[in-house]
């Protein structure tokens, strides 16, 4: 009976949010940079002859400008061409892992915190087990079991171990929120658990989810590069982490091949900063007080 008006309200507020978002310059600029990087990489990646990706396609160790846009590696590959493959792959890792981690974490944290009791106890043990057993153990062992992972598998593995921390935070937030007046009122007025979660608590957590998603994206891409540097990366596909792995394997920093290692590092930062802008913009829209002061 309360369903229809609630839906209306959501639709209306969504319209509003979208309208507000496209007016927010931080959001639009951040989003534009992010999409531009992704699209340029994707489109030029499709136009490039796949044979040019192979080792030895270019002279070794060329600085930028001398024949290639961003220089070449010791393996005789073009850094620019590698980026066209690495950016979409890394973004894919970030998106999948962040989505899996955030959604799983929010769901489990919510249920655990809201229902309490036995459900909470079981979920808490689950969270704590995942939090305390080092994920590196699983990552190395899973990589060993799978005998080398691809980009998607890597993303799923990272995501599967990214949920306990958000779950714990969500649980703590829910614990704190549910003692607040408005939830108590809702409960007294006869709403059941799910309704309370959806209608009253979700909006409060929405902002947090957005922030966590951006953080989880950054963390996942960094985790991918960390694992790649340790030699556990997707060795047949190029990601920003694998670019760094190869640069370090050929001691590019010491050899002063700055274009090689700096390209993936700067790309990582640009990706992260653009996402952060999106995040700030999103925050400002969902929390109008920030716009005037933040």
């Amino acid at each position: 009976m309360a369903v229809a008006p609630v839906q209306d309200a959501i639709v209306e507020s969504r319209k509003g949010v979208l309208w507000e978002l496209q007016r927010n310059r931080k959001f639009t600029i951040g989003g534009a940079i992010f999409l531009a990087m992704l699209l340029i990489a994707l489109i030029s990646g499709m136009m490039i002859d796949p044979d040019l990706r192979k080792s030895g396609s270019f002279p070794q160790r060329l600085p930028p400008g001398e024949g290639t846009l961003f220089g070449t590696t010791s393996l005789g590959q073009s850094v620019a061409i590698q980026l066209t493959e690495a950016i979409p792959n890394s973004v894919q890792v970030g998106l999948i892992a962040a989505a899996v981690g955030t959604i799983l974490g929010a769901l489990i944290g919510f249920v655990s915190g809201y229902f309490g009791g036995k459900v909470d106890n079981v979920l808490r043990i689950l969270i704590d087990v995942f939090l305390s057993v080092p994920s590196l153990l699983f990552l190395i062992l899973i990589a060993a079991l799978l005998r080398g992972v691809g980009v998607t598998a890597m993303a799923l593995i990272i995501g599967a171990f990214a949920w306990p921390s958000p779950a714990r935070q969500v649980r703590a937030q829910v614990l704190s929120l549910k003692e607040r007046g408005f939830v108590q009122v809702a409960r007294l007025s006869g709403m059941n658990g799910m309704e309370i979660i959806l209608i009253e608590l979700m909006p409060h957590m929405f902002q947090w989810l957005g922030a966590n998603f951006v953080n989880a994206f950054i963390a996942a891409v960094l985790a991918e590069s960390g694992l790649s540097i340790l030699g556990l990366g997707p060795s047949r596909e190029m990601t920003l982490g694998m670019m760094i792995y190869w640069a370090l394997n050929y001691s590019a920093i010491f050899q002063n091949l700055w274009w090689w290692w700096l390209a993936p590092v700067i790309t990582l930062m640009a990706l992260f900063l653009s996402l952060y802008l999106v995040h700030i913009g999103f925050d400002e829209v969902s929390n109008p007080r920030l716009r005037t002061e933040g």
């Binding site: 393996l75 080398g148 047949r236 050929y250």
Partner: protein
């Protein structure tokens, strides 16, 4: 709002600029560091990993780090050393050895005056005890091999010991796993009986402090450094009249490649162990510090390790059980490109699995025509012929296929070693270009051993073939090491590729007989040629390149290092033979003392 964005952009630019300048300014050479007295008398060797347990000094304990700690070179000594550079078999704790007529006994005459570092005399009793201990404790390192080869050791008198072998072997004195003479790595190490006889379980014994006969004492050991100090009372000083130049020697872990390169540039270390510096990093070090030199002044810089690299074919199952497919794959591999891209020019290609040592040249010359007719050089047209002859045709995407199934061999490699990752990266691309849809699987840790020994690969590489002597490397392909697919093979290069050809085995067996009869070189070369004709026709593995041992030496504090110009010794700091780098040795040929390294400027 616009201001906030511009501050953001500006600060980002600033940071990037910082990163770039840090990268560029670093190219400016650093001045020589303050050479305090202590540093000038110390020799610092950089190793590739921290030491797992700095309280364990038992060279026979499986977990002891034999190749990094330096214990085998500094504290322990061996009866003989093999200088592979000059071919000399240098008597050290012993003065001589002789076989009986049928090569079933070796009598060793020990040197008089050799003392353990705690003052006890080194005698034949120690040798007898060591072999008894190996027999009673088969879990010790080398015990397995030693017990199979040596039946017993008898003491004739304090300075004479007789080794009784289980079967005739004219090459027993060269097998370090069964006889206390060392050319590469370390081997059977004589332990002091007066300490070890009271040990309950030699397998778990820590041997703290380690007692040896060597010129140095272990002073301290931590996770990051094993430090040795020179003994004043080393027996060799009295007997040979020499004292090694460095007062202290440290085997230390300074971090990953970049840190090692930086410490070498800053004169903090004198020589890194093998496999740490890539050729590119080495050349950058040379630019920063002209006192750093390796084996040769020009490319390829590296000394050739006795273990050339090859790619293994799994012959126990299709598709690599077909020699035509093996030859097709082999013809698609451009070894020059591997050397250029993966090794950055610091080695040379190889068309067989023996090192480029001058002593082996007659053997190589004798099979030049066999090699020329074989499939071990890059030749895409030949590859097409091989694949077509094997019944393959190219499919719509340009990949070789037979009966609707693509030729998609599984290429495994050890993902833990940068060298393997670089080489396979190039090979995968070359095979794909040639129309082979190769699948790539880098494995690491405990998983790789099990998979390779069970033969789960179609292709595996790069694999080292050691120890690089004619007979020993021939023997690696002997059918006696064959085990069926699925069961663990004895080891990687010991026939995990499942090769068995009676014709080849016969040639290897004939070689051993000929060696026992002290046959002349022409006979040996003849047998070698017979074996190689079979081998290149079967092509159980395909040779890739010589193994570069890029071991730079720092001439700032120490001089007299071996080099291509003055090749008096192997330029190796991770084998027990490093002892001789410091002390020098009496030349077997001239009888004169070849001096070890000396302080720079002296």
């Amino acid at each position: 709002m616009s201001r906030s964005r511009s501050t953001l952009v500006i600060s980002l630019l600033l940071l990037v600029a910082m990163l770039i300048t840090s990268a560029c300014t670093a190219a400016v050479p650093a001045g020589p560091s303050a050479a305090d007295m202590e540093r000038a008398q110390t020799l610092n060797i950089a190793v590739s990993r921290p030491f797992a347990d700095p309280t364990l000094f038992n060279i026979y304990a499986p977990g002891f780090d034999r190749s990094r700690t330096g214990l085998g070179a500094m504290v322990h000594e061996y009866l003989f050393y093999l200088n592979m550079e000059t071919g000399e078999f240098v008597p050290w704790l012993a003065e001589s050895y002789e076989y009986n007529d049928d090569y079933t006994e070796i009598t060793v005459n020990l040197r008089d005056g050799v003392m353990w570092s705690d003052g006890e005399a080194f005698t034949a009793d120690d040798i007898v005890f060591t072999y008894e201990m190996l027999r009673n404790n088969p879990a010790l390192t080398w015990a397995n091999e030693s017990n199979k080869a040596v039946a017993n050791v008898e003491k004739i008198d304090d300075l004479t010991a007789k080794f009784i072998l289980t079967e005739p072997n004219p090459r027993q004195h060269l097998v370090r796993e069964t006889f206390p003479a060392v050319g590469v790595w370390s081997g059977i190490t004589i332990v002091p009986e007066h300490i070890w006889r009271d040990v309950e379980d030699p397998v778990t014994f820590k041997f703290d402090p380690p007692i040896g006969t060597g010129p140095y004492l272990l002073e301290s050991a931590t996770e990051s450094a094993f430090s040795y100090t020179r003994r004043d009372d080393w027996w060799g000083t009295e007997v040979f009249g020499v004292t090694p130049a460095p007062a202290k020697v440290n085997f230390m872990h300074v971090g990953p490649e970049t840190s090692v390169a930086l410490s070498l540039s800053a004169n903090e270390i004198d020589s890194p162990a093998i496999g740490i510096l890539s050729p590119g990093a080495f050349m950058s070090v040379k630019e920063r510090n002209p006192n750093i030199k390796a084996w040769t002044e020009e490319a390829p810089y590296a000394w050739y390790d006795p273990c050339p690299r090859a790619l293994l074919f799994q012959m126990g199952k299709p598709p690599m059980d077909d020699p035509l497919v093996r030859k097709g794959i082999s013809s698609l591999i451009d070894r020059d490109q591997i050397v250029a891209l993966a090794y950055e020019g610091a080695t040379v290609v190889s068309d067989n699995v023996w090192p480029e040592y001058s002593g082996l040249q007659p053997y190589k010359d004798a099979i030049a025509d066999v090699i020329a007719a074989s499939a071990v050089t890059y030749n895409p047209e030949a590859a097409e012929q091989y694949f077509t002859e094997a019944g393959y045709a190219k499919d719509a995407d340009g990949f070789w296929a037979k009966d609707g199934e693509r030729l998609a061999p599984l290429l495994m490699t050890n993902g833990d070693t940068p060298e393997a990752m670089k080489v396979t990266a190039v090979i995968v691309d070359q095979l794909e270009t040639g129309g082979v849809a190769v699948e790539f699987q880098p494995l690491g840790g405990a998983v790789v051993d099990a998979a390779i020994l069970a033969g789960e690969y179609d292709l595996y590489g790069p694999q080292a073939f050691c120890p690089g002597t004619i007979y020993e490397n021939m023997e690696l392909f002997h059918g006696k090491f064959f085990v069926p697919l699925g069961e663990p093979a004895p080891w990687y290069e010991r026939n995990s590729f499942r090769y068995a050809n009676p014709e080849y085995d016969a040639a290897v067996d004939a070689m051993l007989v000929a060696l026992g009869e002290n046959a002349d070189e022409a006979t040996l070369i003849d047998i070698y040629r017979q074996a190689m004709e079979v081998w290149y026709n079967d092509l159980p593995v395909t040779p890739l390149n010589q193994a570069p041992a890029l071991v730079p030496f720092n001439y700032t504090y120490w001089d007299g290092w071996p080099s291509a110009e003055n090749p008096w010794m192997m330029p190796v700091n991770w084998w027990a033979t490093m002892n001789l780098l410091l002390t020098g040795y009496e030349s077997v040929e001239t009888g004169e003392w070849v001096p070890g390294i000396r302080a720079a400027g002296q």
